[in-house]
Amino acid sequence: MINFIIKRKYLFLRRFVQIGIMVLYFGANAYGWNILVGNLSSSVLFGVIPMSDPYAALQMLAAGATLATDLLIGVGIVVLLYMFVGGRVFCSWVCPVNLITDLSNYLRRKLGFNQIQKKQPASRNIRYWVIVMSFVISFALGVTAFEFISPISMIHRGVIFGLGFGWAAMLIIFLFDLFVLKNGWCGHICPLGGFYSLIGKFSFIRVHHNVDNCTECMKCKEVCSEVQVLHMITKESIPVISGECTNCARCIEVCDDDALNFSIKKLIKNKEESQNEIN
């Protein structure tokens, strides 16, 4: 049992963080806790530190709103945080939709759907087009376009303030990812994920592949939700450089050969350089 948990320490930690954040938000509304107030669009930590969704702020800008100072500070804090830990850490460690799509993925693997549908019929670049479109519609209609339809905020608000028909959004995403498209919502369509991919381009914390240890079992590629970022597996010892990696650490956990690990980008570089000097 303990081995089972240790083997999946990141998974358990991730679920703990995801659910913990939701509990804190929920408690703020239901019981007046003053730890994390608001929701994922904008919140206040410990009653002082503002945090705001930078993608929503950009849509507001496109819609023609004046951005308040509090909002800008909040945006700055969030951008800096995710620039450091990896943009899509939001996706796998915070976003509530991840719980749903991970369940879809788990079922797809267990039911062998991935063996039957090997090739996915859609491009993962759709999300960047959705970003562009959200700005166009925001500009044209003078509203924050994605915030009006975002199932992420719908579900997250649902947890804190009451769900309404939000369960339908949850069900649709679940079924879409299960039957229509592997990693359909999070890996293809979600513009927030796309946006955080762009922010995460420069992040420090990366998954690093060590090809010497790799036995080519391909378990990592099977479990990865952004499989294109693992193109170096069995080929070279380099870090995952794509911002689309969510740093979910599932690949690290399924690897029995210690061929994948977290690392700080800069440290690797320095090490390589010093090694080159020695050589």
């Binding site: 709103a65 339809i149 608000r157």
Partner: protein
């Protein structure tokens, strides 16, 4: 000669990759168009609902929808659970705060806890501040409107529930007396709302005794007309200034050259025959 063959193949290959590229481009444009159509149609439809009451200090609806980030901080700050965030199924712009006075009205807290917490300024502190202090009485959430036909005070039955409930007592709602001609010996005591004092808190709507409230709050833009700058109160010196804003408009009407008598005999294009 032998060198030319691969070159031609190459050309064909380039042509087919170019076609593929163009086709993919066109497909992307088509998909984006379809998605954009559905998306903007939904957004357009949902923002068309104008009968929504916003928290105190809210910007004009148009600016409010741009600026509100839907964080729910105002909802959490409200001690009376007046405010809600629109859920799917509420038929309102998703995630934006609103209140329904018949269920829970705004109790007009003097410290207005819902406004300063707004991170984006969609709830504008300035608009509810007078003399450097928060002042809920100048907020404009809406305007109470009376349906005289279902208000029992207008029937002659004595009721002053709305008048008593009003937190701006004696200013936003006054009771006007007049003689009840039907009985000849009773008085009408009819409530009248004054828009310059009414904040739209909805305590009157909550208090109204009829099955469906005969006094109810509407957003100010919906409840009120607008005179324009062409009509002024000539007896009011301040109002006199407004006429300077009035802009002239020239209209031309084309006069018919036909005899006036024809208009009696000729039905013109009224009937097609």
């Amino acid at each position: 000669m032998s060198n030319n063959i691969p070159e031609e193949n190459n050309k064909e290959e380039i042509a087919s990759t170019r076609r593929l590229f163009l086709l993919n481009m066109a497909r992307t444009v088509g998909l984006a168009g379809l998605g954009g159509l559905v998306w903007s149609a939904y957004v357009d439809e949902v923002t068309a609902s104008t009968l929504i009451l916003r928290p105190p200090g809210a910007l004009k609806e148009e600016d409010f929808l741009k600026t509100c980030i839907k964080c729910g901080m105002c909802v959490e700050a409200c001690p009376f659970d007046t405010l809600f965030l629109a859920k799917p199924g509420d038929n309102k712009p998703l995630g934006t705060p609103f209140f329904e006075p018949r269920k829970v009205p705004c109790y007009m807290c003097t410290d207005i806890p819902c406004v300063p917490v707004c991170p984006t300024g969609a709830l504008d502190e300035e608009s509810v501040t007078s003399d450097g202090k928060l002042d809920i009485e100048i907020s404009e959430m809406g305007l109470a409107v009376i349906d005289k036909e279902s208000c029992i005070a207008f029937w002659g039955i004595q009721c002053d529930a709305c008048y008593r409930a009003c937190p701006v007592l004696g200013k936003a709602i006054t009771v006007e007396y007049s003689k009840n001609e039907r009985t000849g010996k009773h008085a009408f005591m009819q409530p009248v709302v004054h828009s310059e004092f009414c904040t739209g808190c909805g305590l009157c709507e909550r208090a109204c005794v009829t099955e469906k409230a005969a006094i109810f709050v509407l957003p100010k833009e919906v409840a009120m007309g607008k005179v324009g700058d062409h009509y002024i109160k000539g007896w009011d010196e301040k109002d006199d200034d407004r006429v300077k804003n009035a802009k002239g408009a020239t209209t031309t009407t084309e006069l018919s050259k036909r005899s006036a008598l024809d208009s009696l005999n000729d039905s013109g294009s009224l009937f097609d025959d």
